[in-house]
Amino acid sequence: MSPPRDDMEAAAPHWREAFGLAWAFVGDRARAEELTQEAFVRLGSMRRAPDRGQPIAPLLFAIVRNLALDELRRRRHESLDDDAHEQDSRAARVEADPASSNPAHLADRAERRERVRAALARLSPTSRAVLYLRDGLDYSYRQIAETLEKSEDVVRVTLHRARARVRAWTENLEPRGEST
C-alpha cells in the first residue's frame, strides 16, 4: 500500500487554481492569497484517513469556497454594521483598473480586457466563481456544480446571465446592477 499522502504537498500543484477561485470569490488579490494559504493549512491539518487515489483538488476547492463564503458573509455583516455603502462595496473590493472607466475603444483588445475585468468586478461573487471555473479552468458544468454545490441547471443559468451581463457592461449596452 502506498504511504499516506501529505495533503498539502499533493495539493501544491493546485495552488494557482485555488488562488484563482479565491480571487473570483473575494475579488481581492491580497485577501485571496491569504485565504488560499489558510485553505492549504486547513487541508494539512485535516484529520482524515489518507485516501489513496482520490484527487485532492475538489477538497481544496471546497475549503477555499467555504472560507471565501465565510469571508463574504462577514463583510456583508460588517458593512451593515458600519452602515457602509454595501451596494458599492462589492465592486470596490475588486481591483478595478482606472483605465476601465475610459470611454471604450472596443476594437482595442487590451482595453476591452480591462473593461471585462471591471465588468467581472460587478458580478456577484458566485457568478464570478462560476465563470472562473468555466472559462478559467475549463470545468464542465457538472464539475462546476460539484465544486460549488449547486445544481447543473443553476450553473447553466448563472453562466448564461453572467456572460450576458459581462457583455452588456463591457459594451455599455445595458448597465444595470446584478442582483445577488
Binding site: 500500500m1 502506498s2 504511504p3 499516506p4 499522502r5 501529505d6 495533503d7 498539502m8 504537498e9 501544491a12 495552488w15 494557482r16 487554481e17 488562488f19 484563482g20 480571487w23 473570483a24 488579490r29 492569497e33 488560499t36 494559504q37 492549504f40 493549512v41 494539512g44 484529520r47 482524515r48 484517513a49 489518507p50 485516501d51 489513496r52 476591452r112 480586457r113 471585462v116 475585468r117 467581472l120 465563470l131 472562473y132 468555466r134 472559462d135 478559467g136 479552468l137 464542465s140 458544468y141 447553466r156 453562466l159 448564461h160 456572460r163 450576458a164 459581462v166 457583455r167 463591457t170
Partner: protein, 333 residues
C-alpha cells in the same frame, strides 16, 4: 427576434460550452445555419467568453507564489501526523464498532482522548504487541521515518540496545500481557522475559499481521489506511500473539510521550475481546485496561472480524471457534 431566436439565445451559452444534449445542439446548429442574427449573437458571446478567459488567464499568470513557510514549520512531523491520523481513524472506527453497541460512555472517553492526542500534534506512534513494541517517528536528520523495534520479530530476543546513531529514546510503552484472561497488568519487560522463547507464543510481524486490524476496519467501514509493508509506511501495526491458552491478540496503541490511546483485541475461545485504555503515561504506571466488551455472536462486528481473521490467517481454526460459539448461541457478556 422571433420566439425561436429567443429560445436559441437562451441556450447559446451552453452551446458554446458544448454542454447541450446532441439533439438540442443539432436544433441550434440548424437554426444558426439559417439565422444570421443569432450567429452574430453567438460570435459576440464567444468574444466575451474569450475576453473573460484572458482575464482569468492573467489572474492565474500573476498568482503569487505559494509561501512555503507553513510547510517547513510542520516538517518536524508532517507525515507522521497523517499516519497517526490514519491510525487513529482506524482505531476510532474499530472502537466505535465495539462501543456503539455496548458502552457508549467508554467510547466517548476514548474518542475524546484520541482527539486530544491528535490535537497535541502527535509526534510518535507507538505500536505494541505482546512481545514487541515499535516506535515510529519522523527523523529530521534523515528526512525519513525512522523506526525501531524492541523485541525481535520472531520473539527470540528483546532488541533493547540501539546504536549511537539511533535517535530514539526508550519506547514509552507500559504494556500488559494477559494470559488466559488473568486479570492485572504486567510490565512489558517482565512480560517480554517470560514470553520470549515460548514456543506457543509465536509472533507474526509484518504486513499480514497488519492487514488483520486494517481489514477489520476496512471491511466494515471502508477506511483506508497504510500498512507495515516497509519501514516508511508504517501507520498501524498489529502484532498478534498466540498464547498457550489459545488466545490471539493484537495490541493497537496510538500515543506520544505524554499520553496514549490503545486497544487490545483478543480472540479468545469464548469470543473476541476488546480492551481499551486511554490515559497519560506515568513513570510507574500500569497499562490499566478499562472498559471491556465482548462482541456477541451474530453481531455485525463479529462477522467482520471473522472475515478479516480468515483473510489474515488463512486458517479456519479460529473461525471454527467462533462458529461453534455462534452455534451455541453465545451472545457476549
Amino acid at each position: 427576434m422571433n420566439e425561436s431566436c429567443e429560445h436559441v439565445r437562451a441556450q447559446l451559452s451552453a452551446y458554446l460550452d458544448a454542454e447541450l444534449a446532441p439533439a438540442e445542439a443539432a436544433t441550434l446548429d440548424a437554426h444558426l445555419a439559417a439565422c444570421a442574427a443569432c450567429r452574430e449573437e453567438l460570435a459576440a458571446l464567444r468574444l466575451t467568453s474569450e475576453d473573460v478567459r484572458s482575464v482569468f488567464a492573467d489572474v492565474l499568470e500573476s498568482a503569487p507564489a505559494q509561501r512555503r513557510e507553513f510547510a517547513s514549520a510542520r516538517r518536524t512531523s508532517p507525515r507522521l501526523v497523517l499516519l497517526a491520523v490514519g491510525a487513529a481513524a482506524a482505531l476510532a472506527l474499530l472502537l466505535w464498532a465495539v462501543f456503539s453497541t455496548s458502552n457508549e460512555r467508554a467510547w466517548r472517553n476514548v474518542r475524546d482522548s484520541a482527539s486530544t492526542l491528535l490535537a497535541a500534534d502527535t509526534t510518535r506512534l507507538s505500536i505494541c504487541g505482546p512481545l514487541t513494541c515499535m516506535d515510529v517517528a519522523w527523523d529530521d536528520a534523515t528526512g525519513r521515518f525512522a523506526w525501531r523495534v524492541s523485541g525481535d520479530a520472531d520473539g527470540s530476543e528483546p532488541r533493547g540496545a540501539f546504536d549511537g546513531t539511533d535517535v530514539w529514546v526508550d519506547v514509552p510503552f507500559r504494556g500488559v500481557v494477559r494470559e488466559s484472561g488473568a486479570p492485572g497488568p504486567m510490565w512489558l519487560p517482565s512480560a517480554l522475559e517470560s514470553a520470549v522463547g515460548a514456543e506457543d507464543a509465536p509472533v507474526r510481524f509484518g504486513p499480514r499481521a497488519t492487514r488483520f486490524l486494517l481489514d477489520l476496519a476496512n471491511g466494515r467501514f471502508g477506511v483506508e489506511s497504510t500498512s507495515a509493508s516497509s519501514e516508511e509506511r508504517v501507520a498501524v501495526l498489529v502484532v498478534p500473539g498466540r498464547g498457550a491458552s489459545g488466545w490471539s491478540r493484537a495490541h493497537f496503541v496510538l500515543g506520544d510521550d505524554a499520553a496514549f490511546a490503545g486497544a487490545t483485541l483478543s480472540l479468545a475461545p469464548n469470543g473476541l475481546w476488546v480492551e481499551v485504555a486511554v490515559g497519560e503515561w506515568t513513570p510507574d504506571d500500569a497499562f490499566g485496561f478499562g472498559p471491556r466488551a465482548v462482541l456477541g455472536a451474530g453481531s455485525p462486528e463479529l462477522a467482520v472480524a471473522r472475515r478479516a481473521f480468515a483473510r489474515w490467517s488463512g486458517s479456519e481454526s479460529e473461525l471454527e471457534i467462533l462458529e461453534s460459539l455462534e452455534a451455541l448461541g453465545y451472545s457476549g457478556e
